[in-house]
């Protein structure tokens, strides 16, 4: 096996190992990636990886998959990125298929149906919890709160969600410019980076 192959294999295995822990929100994942990539394998330095996480949170998509791809790319180029991404996605992909098959087989079983009646309520709570967590870091002033409320109201009128995303970016730029003309600068920085909801 060539050195390059070995590197790709070990990238794949590192992220394969972490994948099953990206549960419901990847609290555990960021320190785990740091431990593996910085301390154990010494592929990257501490500051490098902090920047990587910040950018992974900015690009659309799940932060776990993004950071895996980014780290793989930094270390092993495009094929390294593919190896790392496959590693992080494969276990959860297979598990999700197994769960889908299980669900289709047993959804008419009265016990499973009963469990799901309750689990649906809990999943609604999980989504509400995600909203609260994101709000804590994203609603930094009155304007962002009003924008969030306007977005929710617009969605209830049946507008397509894509328009809401476009509206958000446009409104952000316009509002900051408007404030700039009046000589004030709003706090546009996040209070603290929230990674777990992006998973």
């Amino acid at each position: 096996m060539t050195d390059k192959r070995k590197l790709h294999l070990s990238l794949f295995l590192v992220f394969l190992k972490m994948s099953p822990f990206t549960f419901g929100g990847g609290y555990a994942l960021i320190p785990a990636i740091e431990r593996e990539v910085v301390e154990k394998k010494q592929w990257l330095r501490e500051e490098e990886i902090a920047d990587l996480f910040a950018v992974s949170g900015t690009v659309p998509g799940a932060v776990a998959a993004n950071s895996a791809a980014f780290i793989g790319y930094r270390i092993g180029g495009v094929s390294g990125a593919i190896a790392a991404l496959l590693g992080i996605c494969l276990p959860t992909f297979l598990l999700m298929i197994v769960l889908s098959i299980f669900y289709v087989q047993f959804k008419d079983n009265p016990k499973i149906e009963a469990a799901f009646t309750a689990i649906r309520a809990t999943v609604a709570a999980l989504i509400a919890f995600a909203a609260i967590k994101v709000a804590r870091s994203s609603i930094v002033d009155f304007a962002s709160g009003a924008l969030a409320a306007a977005a929710a109201l617009l969605l209830f009128t049946g507008i397509h969600p894509l328009w809401v995303v476009a509206l958000g970016a446009t409104a952000g730029i316009l509002w900051v410019q408007f404030r700039g003309m009046k000589g004030k600068s709003p706090k546009i920085k996040e209070k603290e980076p929230v990674f777990d909801y992006m998973i």
Partner: protein, 180 residues
């Protein structure tokens, strides 16, 4: 069909700022209103299973929807479609992102994006609760129990800092005891 599946999740992957939960309204809109692939209740169950499983919720939903529509190939295509946009963006624009992340206009756009993401997730929570039967005109004892389970779950997540998996597991057991 496969093309629609791929195109739809490619779109989801492209705009999933703020991650999976904010994408639920878009997925609902496309699957229920545009393609009519399944009923609202069935999609709600897929979201529930996706929330139970490790991994990004948007990718999990893609895998389950793809699998139900077109088997293994559908699942693989849908998963590929979700991760492709951000993957391409990272490869193509990784360096640019480092440079422009702190550009005032980019920062301003993200200020607005982050705010609407909150609105999207709030809407996702309400519409999911509606599909799950928590929001009916004629609540019976089942509905009241669901509302109590919702409140209890939210409480354990926020104040008791319980792991989502533990909460889902307990909730399932409570469900079997109550409705079984």
């Amino acid at each position: 069909m496969l093309i629609h599946l791929f195109a739809m999740f490619l779109l989801v992957g492209l705009v999933s700022f703020g991650g999976g939960y904010a994408m639920i309204p878009l997925i609902q809109e496309e699957i229920l209103k545009r393609y009519h692939w399944m009923e609202a209740g069935q999609l709600a169950d897929i979201v529930a299973v996706a929330g139970m499983s490790p991994g990004p919720i948007a990718t999990n939903i893609a895998v389950a929807v793809g699998y139900q529509q077109a088997g293994w190939l559908g699942a693989a295509l849908a998963a590929l479609a979700v991760v492709l946009p951000s993957f391409a963006l990272i490869l193509a624009a990784g360096k640019l992102f480092f440079r422009y992340r702190d550009h005032p206009r980019v920062a301003a756009a993200f200020y607005g994006l982050r705010a609407v993401v909150v609105g999207l997730i709030v809407y996702a929570a309400v519409s999911f609760a509606r599909h799950a039967g928590l929001w009916t005109g004629t609540p019976d004892w089942r509905t009241w129990c669901q509302i109590a389970i919702f409140a209890g779950s939210l409480f354990s997540l926020i104040y008791l800092h319980k792991h989502p998996f533990v909460v889902i597991l307990l909730s399932g057991l409570v469900g079997i005891a109550l409705y079984g």
